[in-house]
């Protein structure tokens, strides 16, 4: 799904070439993955492992069984949510590297809401989800306000906010929010108490971790698509992202929409944290984010910064992460190789995108 097909009703004349263009658009990321896998194979050979066996193990681990595939979807869920936030921010011309921190505070807030709010049943779940979303939004609002008011570079401030969130979690999980049982037992593991069962997201497949949060994330992706291409808010965010000067000239308050893009970006990452707590861990634990805040950026780029493109992108990346575990166990290679593979994929996607754009620009400039 390319951006151009979604902006407006297409016309018959250009329909065919559009279809071909979006086909090409889809082929590029696939090619990038294949190329990354080929290079990965070379590295595997150098490491003395059989690449065929390794990749077979990886594919089996990710997609070959019910437990593997559901686990892939479980990992894909936070990636998708973070990726949606990154997509909105990028579309608004701001770069949100703060997914990790926003996810952590989202998880903390959801935990606190589920533990301390005296609400019955589904209301408790809803409150926890909203609390996580709002906390993430707040974490995005701080860099947003700094950028709008003082012109502070959002890349730096969002990275710094990651650090603050991490330390905040360290403090809360060792102090005020620590599980009382851990104190009683004297083990003092840094984690919160187990949440009440009515705050859990429903598990979809018995004896797996797959939970309703995955459905929520897909709905969110459709919602973001709708927001960006069917509402005035999304229109303004995209206008500001593509040309702030023209947007300002046309009367759009540019800074306000840049800030909004960062706030929405934070909100989705915060929701990812809440979903991870309520769907998988059922408590706040140290290291809950698992780098999703950063991998989500990769998923968003891989999905061509399109909310619907982010869905297959997250599933694929979830699969790489889950399958990578299996590969590591089967052929005994360091799991850093998986991270390197992800990096290569991004490099190729962004690189091929650049080349395609340049070629398109050449072909389109007549005069």
């Amino acid at each position: 799904m390319s951006e151009t097909t979604s902006t407006a009703p297409r016309t018959a004349a250009s329909g065919a070439s559009r279809a071909w263009q979006s086909w090409q658009g889809a082929l590029v990321p696939v090619g990038a993955v294949l190329l990354a896998l080929v290079i990965g194979a070379v590295v595997l050979v150098i490491l003395g492992a059989d690449p065929v066996r390794a990749y077979t193990a990886m594919a089996e681990g990710a997609f070959g069984s019910v437990s593997g595939f559901t686990q892939t979807l479980v990992v894909a869920t936070p990636l998708l949510l973070v990726g949606l936030g990154v997509t909105i921010a990028f579309r608004g011309g701001v770069i949100n590297i703060g997914g990790e921190g926003q996810l952590i505070v989202g998880a903390l807030a959801a935990t606190a809401a589920a533990l301390y709010l005296p609400l019955p049943g589904v209301l408790l779940l809803l409150a926890a989800l909203i609390a996580g979303t709002l906390a993430g939004a707040l974490w995005g609002a701080v860099p947003g306000a700094l950028k709008a008011q003082l012109g502070v570079n959002e890349i730096l401030s969002t990275i710094m906010m990651n650090q603050i969130a991490l330390q905040l979690a360290n403090f809360l999980l060792r102090g005020p929010m620590i599980d009382p049982k851990e104190i009683e037992a004297g083990t003092r593991i840094a984690q919160s108490a187990l949440l009440p069962a009515e705050s859990y997201l429903v598990r979809l497949v018995p004896r797996t971790l797959l939970h309703a949060g995955s459905i929520l994330a897909v709905i969110a992706a459709i919602g973001v698509f709708f927001l960006l291409w069917r509402t005035t808010i999304g229109y303004r965010i995209r206008a500001v992202g593509l040309n702030p000067d023209a947007a300002r000239y046309a009367g759009i308050p540019v800074k306000r929409y840049q800030m909004l893009a960062l706030i929405l970006g934070g909100a989705f990452a915060g929701l990812a944290g809440a979903v991870e707590v309520l769907g998988v861990q059922h408590r706040m634990v140290e290291g809950l984010s698992g780098g999703y805040g950063f991998s989500g950026i990769v998923a968003a780029l891989f999905g061509k910064l399109h909310p619907l493109g982010a869905i297959p992108a997250s599933v694929l990346f979830g699969g790489l992460l889950v399958g990578g575990d299996k590969m590591q166990r089967t052929v005994q290679v360091p799991d850093a190789l998986i991270v390197a593979l992800l990096g290569l994929v991004v490099l190729f996607v962004v690189g091929s995108d650049y080349i395609m754009r340049k070629r398109a620009a050449r072909a389109q400039t007549h005069e």
Partner: protein, 498 residues
């Protein structure tokens, strides 16, 4: 260049064009936007490769794979948009990409010396140690020419070099170009301004719709001949203007001051009013505060002193959105930077100001049915040439983009229009069209402030002409009685005696 054919998807950009230029001559390449002038020259400069045909330089057929091949063959190109690094000095820009005569050590002093020698020879006044962003557009263009000369160009292509210059700057450029031709350089001068072609060139080749109309000795041609060859029909070079019936005061600028980008006062104590049903032209040499004044009037720049009143309402510190709401429309000077979002479609650009309210959106939901109908209406009413409403605006020609902007702004039935350089870089056909639309607005009672560096345009459209010099108002004269000489004196800083 012999029998050049170049196709783009859906367009035959050059259809069997042959073209030759001799040492010591200025050969003008004339044609409307989209006629294939730039495409032809880009093939000569190695940016595109011809589908068929040959490029022969100094008797040898050449195949250029990239601009660096072309540069080696002695071809230099001055683009419309300058390729300079704004934070570097003139000498650094000229030396950029060239090996130093001292190996790893910079030889900027030698570069500067050679620049001075070249500059003196061709009358290109530039300080080699000046930083590029501080230079005026005219000076930056001189740097581009120096760059090409420094690299040993014997064939120089100038792509609409006067589009960014004032008449005076253009005149200076012509002196330089004549000197270069006299020195044995071959010059190709791309333009769609007839009087420049007549004033400068020895021969002229006219292109239309990718085909060659013919090559003619310039001395045998008149303005009307060239216009007819270029557009393919008779062109009116003047407009019918019924006498103005000015009504109430719509826009009032009172003792306005503002600070420019370089920290100095760009507009000083400027007072002017525009009434309903009249066009007031603001003339002046480029860089005398017109841009800053337009920015204050559109809410992009803060005034330091003074007041602006719009339809009786104080808008001195109003945001762009508040001014739009108060009935003001603006046609920006830099259409690609501030007028449109180039990656947005025609349709998305059509609602840039108006997307936020009915009938285009309801409770933040965009109504694409209404928007599409509205866009089709604009495209039809303003003769915007675009394949579809979904085409990204970056694929349209300059004239069509300007028509789209005009359509978008004027369809809102403004009471005040600020038009800054509305036809800069736009072909004759589109200029004529835009001028008619502005005169239509005048007839329907709109107050228009026309800011332009094209004195012909100002004189053809305005009822009163104001002149700005170094940010100050030099005077306001009746357009009917103003002479080019009196306006020229004011543009050079002589205050008009009332």
């Amino acid at each position: 260049m012999v029998d050049i054919v170049k196709r783009f998807p859906g367009v035959l950009a050059n259809d069997g064009v042959s073209f030759d230029v001799r040492a010591g001559e200025v050969h003008a390449l004339l044609g409307e936007n989209g006629a294939g002038k730039s495409t032809l020259m880009r093939q000569l400069y190695g940016l595109y490769r011809p589908d068929s045909g040959q490029i022969i330089i100094d008797g040898q057929p050449r195949v250029f794979h990239s601009p660096s091949d072309a540069i080696k063959a002695g071809v230099g190109m001055i683009h419309q948009h300058f390729m300079l690094v704004s934070s570097l000095t003139v000498a650094e820009n000229v030396a950029l990409g060239l090996p130093s005569s001292r190996g790893a050590r910079l030889d900027l002093d030698r570069v500067a010396e050679r620049i001075r020698a070249l500059a003196e020879r061709y009358g290109l006044k530039v300080d080699p140690s000046a930083v590029v962003w501080q230079l005026s557009v005219g000076e930056q263009q001189r740097v581009e020419i120096l760059k090409a000369l420094y690299r040993g160009a014997s064939l120089l292509v100038l792509d609409e070099p006067t589009a960014v210059l004032t008449p005076q700057e253009a005149e200076e450029l012509f002196v330089t170009l004549r000197q270069m031709a006299a020195d044995g350089h071959a010059l190709i001068f791309i333009s769609h301004k007839l009087h420049e072609v007549l004033a400068l060139s020895n021969r002229v080749t006219v292109l239309r719709d990718g085909r060659m109309v013919g090559t003619y000795p310039t001395t045998e041609m008149t303005r009307a001949d060239l216009a007819r060859l270029m557009v393919g029909r008779e062109v009116l070079l003047q407009y019918d203007r019924p006498p103005a019936k000015p009504g109430e005061e719509r826009l009032k600028i009172d003792g306005l001051w503002t600070v420019g980008d370089r920290g100095t006062d760009a507009v000083r104590d400027f007072t002017l009013s525009v009434r309903a049903g009249e066009i007031v032209g603001l003339a002046g040499v480029s860089g005398n505060g017109q841009r800053e004044l337009a920015e204050v009037l559109t809410g992009l720049r803060k005034p330091s002193k003074g007041a602006v009143t719009l339809n009786g309402k104080d808008v001195t510190h109003a945001s762009p959105a508040e001014r739009i709401a108060a009935g003001q429309c603006a046609i920006p000077e830099e259409r690609m930077r501030t007028g449109v979002i180039k990656d947005f479609s025609v349709l998305e650009n059509a609602i840039l100001c108006d997307h936020g309210h009915a009938p285009y959106s309801h409770q933040t939901l965009l109504d694409f049915k209404t928007i599409a109908a509205h866009t089709q209406q604009l495209i039809a009413d303003y003769a915007v040439k675009t394949p579809t409403a979904d085409t990204p605006v970056k694929n349209l020609s300059g004239g069509n983009i300007q028509k789209l902007i005009l359509a978008r702004e004027l369809c809102r039935k403004p009471t005040v229009v600020i038009a800054a350089q509305p036809t800069r870089g736009v072909d004759i056909g589109a200029s004529e069209y835009i001028h008619h639309r502005l005169l239509e607005q005048r007839a329907s009672g709109t107050a228009t402030l026309l800011i332009s560096e094209d004195l012909d345009e100002i004189r053809a459209l305005s009822d009163r002409i104001a002149v700005i010099f170094e940010g100050r108002l030099m005077g306001v004269v009746d357009a009917a009685t103003a002479t080019a000489e009196s306006l020229g004196l004011m543009m050079a800083g002589t205050r008009h005696a009332d």
